[in-house]
């Protein structure tokens, strides 16, 4: 039924002068409210799209899957089989998803020699490939910050430099998850989808995460990443060596983060970013082993922690040679 529209400056039945068009008996205020509400709903719809995408593509098994820590070994095996089959169906690639447990007597530590790092960014590329990151956004868990000499404020660092490195007046500081012993991101998660493992690695259950992004806001190192859409990786570039809590294919609408390449380091291997570093600036090892390389660095170098004053207690360290 078409609404009755009255023109400007006509008199309604009550005898008042109306200055703007009125649709039927709806006042201008009500119309504006309705318009605003429509805009609001549209905005909410856009904001919620990752969530809608996430649940629209979800199988009943996935929807009913319980928290990682509540699954027994048989259930975990079934979940992993389902995920492997899903990757095979979607990408035609045979992947192996492992669920390696933390090693006894191991707590991982990482250090970067800032006197050596020259900001070439190959660590970011290695992370991108190793962890099956979204190709369109060049996603990576690492940001290499170009910093002014004499400054330690990472918020003033730049990631967008494209000139030959190193610049004489700058130093370069790669920042990734610091695997804090007192992780703010874990504290704020409303559903306990992220937690700290026994070996110090903070992990995410991608199937339990609701994508609220509280953890992203809480992390003082800007180390968490959100999947606005399902990461796109060309089938022939998918890394088939995958971990349930690390680099398996992620859905849209979930948080993710650096896990020190959990699927590699719990197998005794070095993280991908360390192997890729052309300057050899990275040192990785077991903090609980007094003979480890990382312990030697902590004992013999001038080591600092990023934003130490926040009390996050990182397992990630930076040092200078001279």
């Amino acid at each position: 039924m078409p609404p009755e529209v009255q023109d400007n400056n006509t008199q309604d039945t009550a005898g008042k002068t109306v200055s703007l068009p009125v649709i039927g008996h709806i006042s201008r205020r009500t119309a504006l409210k309705a318009f605003g509400a429509t805009l609001g709903i549209a905005a909410f719809g856009t904001a919620a799209k990752p969530m809608i995408d996430k649940y629209a593509s979800m199988s009943p098994e996935e929807m009913l899957q319980r928290h990682y820590k509540e699954l027994d070994s048989d259930e975990r095996a079934a979940v992993i089989n389902r995920l492997q089959d899903e990757t095979k169906a979607k990408h035609g690639v045979d992947v192996t998803i492992r669920d390696l447990p933390p090693l006894d007597g191991v707590k991982y530590g990482y250090a970067i020699n800032l006197s050596v790092c020259n900001g070439n960014g190959e660590c970011m590329r290695a992370c991108h490939k190793e962890n099956n990151h979204d190709r369109e956004s060049n996603q990576s868990y690492i940001r290499v910050l170009e910093m002014k000499r004499g400054s330690m404020d990472m918020e003033k660092g730049s990631t967008t430099y494209t000139h030959p490195v190193p610049d004489d007046d700058k130093f370069y500081m790669p920042v990734q998850c610091q695997q804090c012993d007192n992780p703010p991101c874990v504290d704020v998660c409303p559903v306990e989808a992220t937690w700290k493992e026994k070996d110090g690695i903070v992990v995410v259950d991608y199937n339990w995460c609701i994508g609220c992004r509280y953890c992203e806001a809480a992390c003082p190192y800007h180390a968490r990443r959100f999947n606005w859409k399902a990461p796109t990786v060309p089938d022939d570039q998918i890394n088939p060596d995958q971990g349930y809590l690390s680099n398996r294919m992620r859905p849209a609408g979930v948080m993710e983060k650096c896990t020190f390449c959990l699927h590699r380091v719990r197998d005794g291997r070095l993280p991908a970013c360390l192997e890729a570093c052309p300057t050899g600036a990275r040192v990785f090892g077991n903090l609980l082993d007094p003979d480890s390389e990382i312990r030697w660095v902590l004992a013999n170098k001038r080591v600092f922690m990023l934003k130490e004053e926040l009390g996050t207690q990182p397992s990630f360290f930076y040092y200078f040679d001279e």
Binding site: K196, R269, L270, L274, G280
Partner: protein, 234 residues
Amino acid sequence: MSSDPHPPKVSRHRGSWGPAIGVIILIILLLAWLMVTVVRGPSPISYGNEHDPSPTELTVKQVNQQHPVTISVPEGPPKVLVADPNGSGHAIEVSCTTCHATREPDYKNVTSDDLDEFHQNLSMAHGDLSCLSCHNPKDYDTLKKADGSAVSYPNVMQLCAQCHQSRYNDYQHGAHGGMTGHWDLSKGPRQRKACIDCHDPHSPAMPKMLPQFKPLDRFMDTPHPSDHQTEASH
């Protein structure tokens, strides 16, 4: 949920036995420490001996670990290209002594600019060193240390270490130099770069590099030049 799975347990009932038990535990710990120290020895890592070891001795061996740490070393003395590939498609390469056996060493030659022939395009930027600081005039198929003793090409790291001792010390403790493989040597081997894999011995400073990979990141971007004026009002 608590992040610490094993909260420390504190005994509520410490009677008169407390000090005695403490002393016994201390003695046990001391004995255990002594045993471990004696069995393990003072240093678990050995990086070859002081006197020019054979290349195989450069393999780093660690006690109680199944897998080795190997360092990439040159196979032997380098060959010098003296002519472009000939008619049969083979490059003509000769060893150093082929020419140098019949030439008197000239200590006045400091850089490649001083040479009339061969090694002309070699860029030399290594402190105040000259050719014969490291190359051995008595045997050009070897190198020489500052004391005049010969070092074989595969053991070139010993030559580097005599000046760059603190850097070599870092290297020995895994705090300098790239590596691949395993952090846990009980699970697999590790491969390490040698000095000259990253540093050209004639011009050892790392060259500038062009960043090739940039995430399209929304955070931590450098503000555009036009934003600088508004920044002051923040």
